[in-house]
Symmetry: C2
Amino acid sequence: MRLAELSTRSGVSTATIKYYLREGLLHPGRRVTATQAEYDEGHLRRLRLVRALIQVGRIPVNSAREVLAALQDEGLDPNRRLGTAVWALPHGPAPDEADPATETARQTADELMDRLGWRYGGPSGETPTVPAYGMLITAIAALSRLGYPCATADLEPYARAMERIAATDLDLVERYGTPDEQVEAAVALTVLYEPVLLSLRRLAEAEESRRRFDGR
Amino acid sequence: MRLAELSTRSGVSTATIKYYLREGLLHPGRRVTATQAEYDEGHLRRLRLVRALIQVGRIPVNSAREVLAALQDEGLDPNRRLGTAVWALPHGPAPDEADPATETARQTADELMDRLGWRYGGPSGETPTVPAYGMLITAIAALSRLGYPCATADLEPYARAMERIAATDLDLVERYGTPDEQVEAAVALTVLYEPVLLSLRRLAEAEESRRRFDGR
DNA sequence: AAGCATGGATAGTGGCGCTATCCAACCGAG
DNA sequence: CTCGGTTGGATAGCGCCACTATCCATGCTT
């Protein structure tokens, strides 16, 4: 398959494909002459993944490159690959340590982690802190700066719901046989289900609000 | 309060505040002389909301202006204000109707809406379709284009979890007494809980994955 | 009266995700 | 074998966005 065919079959312009090649999001094709290369189904699949990450998952090109690099780093075992890939996903600005709201947000988050028995956040010793923990602190601090309550008890129902969702996520991932497929599926499903979740939440809010206020 | 104080108390540079004033995200201060204006606590609070929407919620400035305009449109009743504000939130690219995956995605989504008894998506007659429905279609289509399963049955657990979350959201909103406060709270909580949810999901995934694969 | 701060206007910056143009090499129809 | 059209590679440019820097007349402060 040549560039033009890759372009028509993926719906991505040749200029953009060249850009992705330059940026290392897509492997160069198999060189067949000095000025021509051959692409295969793997390139097509990869291109679709890139588009999905960038357009649906809104992941910056630089992060996408790191995520994809981790996904296929043959030197790492699958667990590390997944960890590296998820680590490379964008996770917003780091908490502003100068802001006192950050400190109380951290306490709230730690208490929540403790109550749930989660071990990837907070200061609880041997397990590493993942970037999502920083995201959580930043978001809680922003809420409390605005005067919205965000106590541990307020967050717990959300965390419980996410526990169920994470279990569903992993059930989906386990459908895949090989570790390679599982790692790619884990990343793709983590990223691509985010808009699904957010849109379902907005639909559910509209529905719940209709139910509660329909009479009025 | 003058510009400089508004700046120090909010942590936003005077240049950026002027930019927000220009863009209509912040009302002009009360003019006190030809070249000086006075700002109050309302400006400070509004400025914090703007920063939260833009930095935490990652909402583009243009959308934020529309959202804020809807929030304080005195000509509308609170329900309409909320609807307009949520409508103005960014909701990604519209589904690509040229893509056959969009058609099957729509069927899946409609079946889901039907099974859940939700009435703001799909073709089900009198209720309007909300933008979140388009977000959902786009995301499902992207997943299936990548070969990831996204049947109604796969989505249902996510939708059920979001039903619970929406109920929790509305419980939080109902803590506020006046309709004005409720409308602002609804928008702020919808937007600012998104990073909370996403980071909790990633933490829950890490935790669940540790539980499942710790032995290995 | 001196000197710095204020608010308003305007132009500029840096990053990002492409996109347009050019070019030599190449392929395939006639 | 020629010649129009295509290919991959390099480079520069574009449009958008969220600021940011500079300038200026005014005016408050001391």
